[in-house]
Symmetry: C2
Subunit: 727 residues, 2 copies
């Protein structure tokens, strides 16, 4: 990565893709047997939701499962039937009225354990597969999908079509995602900015005022810790997936763009309701959470293709229409100006403009652009600067080569999440006054800053999200749209983080050794009160003693108090802690101690947190950052269907609740679409390498990947370039 | 402490009282000025809730505030007025119709910072004070209480009487408290015991099935981290307090039993409704959470007096009636059999029996005792054994001197929380079929095990609580009482804890050095699935592949899998981690390396977690354990008032919601009680040393404390015996 300054730390780290040397390596996550069905057992569908079917039969040639393969070759004569419960099993082609497809073949390798990885003895797996594209189930109930292979072996997948509503209750849906935002972040952010008198908050968060709260389980389909790609997939499609996968179930094929797709909320709102689509993030816009609105690839790292997909959709196989979002605001200019990181080297500012988009590249232009056109706003390379750097430590905005046109300069005139969100709202309200809209707003750097253990920046970006929510509600109240809008605020996963007390930073710095420095920590009654809103300290911005800024924003008025939070992660790389805000830009807690680019042995950064004490890590030494955690995250809901969001539920249920409120269920196949006569269509091109030749639909994996048979998700071939997974 | 075995670890640690060398030392937490009013500014009351008033004027004789004192002496001529908003300020005696009381005098010392503590230069504070006892406000609205002192100085306290309901909606209230149970514990416990297939839980927790969830803020009145005493006070009285305080606001007087009291839910249910009271805990029964139902002292460590208070109430000053609980089940036999740890050396088994209680001391007797008498059940010294030791590693029950009669032997026949809870329910249902009841059930060792970083025991006790909730709901359904019962499940605070992935324990043990061992950790897709419910492993108890035991209990069926959770605390002492269940009993993560009893320099216990890697601590080196954290905790509610529990609120609000549902507001002073004519009574004995002479009402502090002027909450005199605060 070419971002060298501290501000770009999280950008650089978020672009790494790969695996970490660790445990529970598996042949293919959702396929414990040798016969794989996607969607797998226990998949839920909205009535009429389009999806692809992928079938695979595996033949491990060595390793612990080799003896299970009768002939040493994968069964190419497998059959697949579907039964509407009680209706009898019928062949898939008959059930959906689709044509039979051809067998595909590939192979891949994987390691069974850390020991075999160390010994470099992978398992080779030969695969026979088929796919059926763009089918749908319209009748609620249970379906039994059965793959018969190797003679008497069966893999049974029980599918459920939920009885969703086709009666629309909400005109608009706004989904706010605080990436990584565990409730502990919200608690700490509240304490940081809101004043307490004798145990009573004098002001509270906008989130605290929501009438209904719920609890969301975030785990992946095949591992109990998720990344932001498959958690966003769950929220946008109702289907859990695998780490790195967007809008697909991850298969084992070499092509990362042929995995079986599932239809997204945004695709349905656009196609069924004619509604507007807004995608807004403080991340580079090809990042997983914004990408999940319409991307379909198991590799979130295909940024260039994802940006092309925002504009042109995914046409390499038969799939739903996509007209592009009406609002697309964020960072990631490197996928837009013509260069090696943009799709086929093209100028995507021009591509969007050619399709009628207004294009803006700074906060001033954003404020001035009209509301009556579709609008692309890309304001920097990489991620947008965080709130603390845009508002308090503004020298940190001077990051070279962040210019959104690829120049040497810095992107100084960046909007905040609030400016993007309110402008996006105005555009959608102007153009979709009747049809309504679905808007996703992501506060991405809550997660990115927590990864680098920059607690203060994670918490202030949490406060920024809260401020955006407050301003959004005020705006909708002014325009009279609040009652017709369902607002859902949640996270896609948590981080193990909490505040355990406070630190006398002056005492800590005055001590000579690490064990003495730990005496600066105060817990329980010695934690005292938050000093970040101390009215007796000088306030860098704003001056109200409750830290309420002139327009109603609530942020701390002292970011550098003597008594700071004792805060920390529950799993971490080596690092040094002095519990003082990082004034020079986002933190880099751990670095290799050599100049060798391949050095993956991370130690506490000697330049980080001067005067603090060393804490050795609990994560693998190749980990320069913290990681996601298991904890359930909170859901805050308001609007016509708010009661549906009470209680405890799985991430996928949020999709079904939101879709239900928008009335997105389809109980009949569309009659106005010839290709959908019967109950499905399947104009598939099922060879992994025979992608459509349309310029806008080339699957980049076919362009960039190695030989078709050499790449796979758990490929041993790529494991010697193992890199730390950071999102 | 005389408990020497590993099982008693948490008991021993929980008996330490004192301060840790740390920051934000304050003169008196809720009193930033020199004039103190208790209840302080922003206090909320249920209409008719009894409370005491304490006024203090401070004269610091040295330190940073000495110059603020006009004469060098505390003002003894201070005045105090109360105004119902808009009604004009009137003297307190006139407002409540109480007699004037006499000035009390004392002094105390405290340190202003860690630096002055190190230099042993305390501040001396001289105090003039008054108290008015057992008053109440019956009319909802705002009140302005004003203390005038030092001529023109004022301390204004705004009090609010909330418009609570006196219409009863629920017959019964059951409050389940998972001590320390952050949502991260619940998430991890769910994953440990409930099987997932392709991202869908096949079974879920009883807590997951509650219709309404909410979010509770847990902070103290004067510090942002709470202990279990003042958080339980908030839940039981609607008044936040100070660390260690039970049912009082903490004043600065030497007597720990003269602090201003507030009426508790249990007192109201008993006196206003004639309802039954059940108090059940897996802790020693004098521990803070059970004690808070009717204790009134700022020192939770006064265990002997608390046990006397369970039976006899608090009569040293005029206070509400108390007839004793109908069910009192837990540990802590050392306060019952006659010995130096029982109140005045008495036999409290006999004291309870003399007042008509059935007394049982083991699980067998508990099961057989009749339901038609009030019942005391004390089953061990210290805390009850945790679920994992009672059910899986049963050799650990052999802890000498846990015999409930003070013998040498072990308390082997201990009931679980479920046996205690279901028996308690039957007793209350039998005796209060018409009047209804209030029962508090605490899973105490969730917290105690997390303090010692024994994650597996904390999580299995979380599962035990969930099983008790499930069984309670089933029982109430059978008896037809579910619809009339409000059930509230919550925690009193959290711990910074989470699960971040998994650990290949075989790989970890096979590596030679600590940095290599960290390579055994798997995150994201390498976290895999929970191995604790692996159907392919041998099951020590139960055998169902979903780990559902014969009576519907859901626990893991393999506690010692190869792939375990990567779990950890966010602040911690030095310790070693091998991520393997501690089979020999609860963990002791850190110990002093010398035999010196006064050694408070804790290092990783050389005998703990063999083969693991060392993690150095972030807490002061005097900390042998983890600490409480800031994170909001979840609330799960079902019953007639369940909708009141949606959203985000403060701990005290739970009291108001529960009391509202029980109709406990009193809009008029009782007319059948002569002493309450007018709006209050105040038959106070206001000298700190002139306690009533009734044998059952002696305040032990008066017996045991040093000279009245030498002890105080932040006393410098006791700080050289500073000990680690552990609950």
């Amino acid at each position: 990565m070419r971002f060298s300054s501290s501000l770009a730390t999280s950008v650089a780290c978020s672009c790494l893709v790969g695996q970490v040397a660790a445990q529970t390596f598996r042949r293919l996550g959702t396929c414990p047997t040798l016969g794989c069905v996607f969607p797998p057992d226990q998949a839920d569908f909205l009535p009429g939701q389009y999806f692809d079917i992928r079938l695979e039969v595996h033949a491990p040639l060595n390793g612990s499962e080799a003896s299970l393969v009768p002939s040493g070759n994968p069964d190419t004569e497998f059959t697949f039937t579907i039964e509407k419960e009680g209706g009898g099993a019928v062949p898939v082609t008959q059930f959906f009225g689709v044509e039979e497809t051809e067998i595909e073949r590939w192979n891949f390798t994987y390691y069974e354990t850390l020991f075999t990885q160390t010994a470099e003895t992978p398992v080779f797996v030969d695969v026979a597969a088929k796919a059926y594209r763009k089918v749908a189930l319209y009748e609620p109930g249970n379906y039994i999908a059965t793959l018969n292979y190797y003679g008497d072996s069966q893999t049974v997948a029980n599918w459920t079509v939920r009885a969703g509503s086709n009666q629309r209750k909400a005109k608009n849906t706004i989904l706010f995602i605080g990436d990584g935002m565990a409730q502990s972040f919200i608690t700490a952010a509240r304490l940081m900015a809101h004043k307490i008198v004798n145990g009573k908050y004098q002001t509270t968060l906008a989130m605290d005022k929501f009438p209904i709260t719920g609890i969301q389980m975030t785990h992946s389909i095949d591992s109990f810790i998720t990344d932001s790609a498959n958690s966003a997939t769950a929220l946008n499609t109702g289907h859990k997936s695998t780490v790195n996968a967007l809008g697909v179930y991850a298969d084992s094929s070499p092509d990362t763009f042929d995995d079986p797709k599932v239809e997204t909320m945004a695709e349905m709102v656009q196609n069924l309701l004619g509604g507007g689509i807004g995608i807004i993030s403080t991340a580079y816009i090809a990042d997983a959470t914004p990408a999940a609105l319409n991307a379909h690839t198991r590799d979130r790292g295909e940024y260039a293709a994802i940006v092309d997909g925002f504009l042109n959709g995914y046409q390499n196989y038969s799939w739903v229409d996509w007209k592009g979002p009406d609002v697309l605001f964020g960072g990631g200019a490197e996928q837009f100006y013509p260069n090696e990181d943009s799709f086929l080297g093209r100028d995507y500012y021009a591509e969007f403009a050619n399709q009628g988009y207004n294009v803006v590249n700074n906060a001033t232009a954003l404020a001035q652009t009209p509301n009556d056109e579709r609008t692309l706003g890309i304001f920097t390379t990489g991620n947008l600067a965080v709130w603390l750097d845009r508002n308090i430590y503004t020298d940190n905005l001077n990051v070279s080569e962040t210019d959104p046109f690829g120049g040497e300069g810095a992107a100084i005139d960046q909007p905040g999440l609030k400016e993007m969100t309110l402008k996006g709202l105005e555009i959608l309200q102007t153009q979709y006054a009747d049809e309504g809209f679905f808007m996703m707003v992501e506060a991405a750097s809550i997660d990115k800053m927590m990864h680098v253990l920059d607690y203060d920046r994670a918490l202030t970006d949490t406060l920024e999200l809260d401020d955006v929510i407050r301003a959004t509600i005020e705006h909708l109240t002014r325009t009279g749209d609040l009652a017709d809008t369902q607002i859902v605020v949640t996270a896609d996963h948590g981080h193990g983080f909490d505040v355990m007390g406070s630190v006398d930073t002056v005492y800590l710095q005055a001590q000579d050794d690490d064990r003495m420095k730990r005496g600066a920590v105060g817990t329980y009654e010695q934690s005292g009160l938050s000093q970040y809103v101390n009215p007796n300290t000088s306030a860098p911005v704003g001056s109200d003693k409750n830290a309420v800024y002139p327009n109603g924003e609530v942020f701390p008025n002292n970011f550098d108090p003597r008594y700071t939070f004792l805060q920390g992660a529950c799993a971490f790389p080596d690092r040094r802690e002095n519990y003082i805000v990082h004034k020079d830009g986002p933190r880099t807690p751990a670095v290799p101690l050599t100049e060798d680019e391949d050095d993956e042995d991370y130690y506490a950064n000697p330049e980080d947190s001067p005067g603090g004490y060393i804490v050795n890590g609990t994560l693998p030494v190749g980990a320069p950052q913290g990681v996601h955690s298991l904890v359930d995250v909170s859901v805050f809901a308001m609007g016509p269907c708010q009661m549906d969001f009470a209680g405890v539920y799985n991430s996928i249920d949020i999709f079904f609740k939101m879709a239900d409120c928008m009335g997105l269920a389809r109980y009949e196949a569309p009659t106005n679409e010839a290709s959908n006569s019967g109950s499905s269509n399947s104009t598939s091109s099922n060879s992994a390498s025979s992608n459509s030749a349309s310029p806008n639909s080339v699957a980049p994996a076919a362009l960039n990947s190695a030989a078709p048979n050499s790449a796979a998700p758990n490929s041993a071939a790529s494991s010697n370039a193992a890199q730390w997974q950071t999102w």
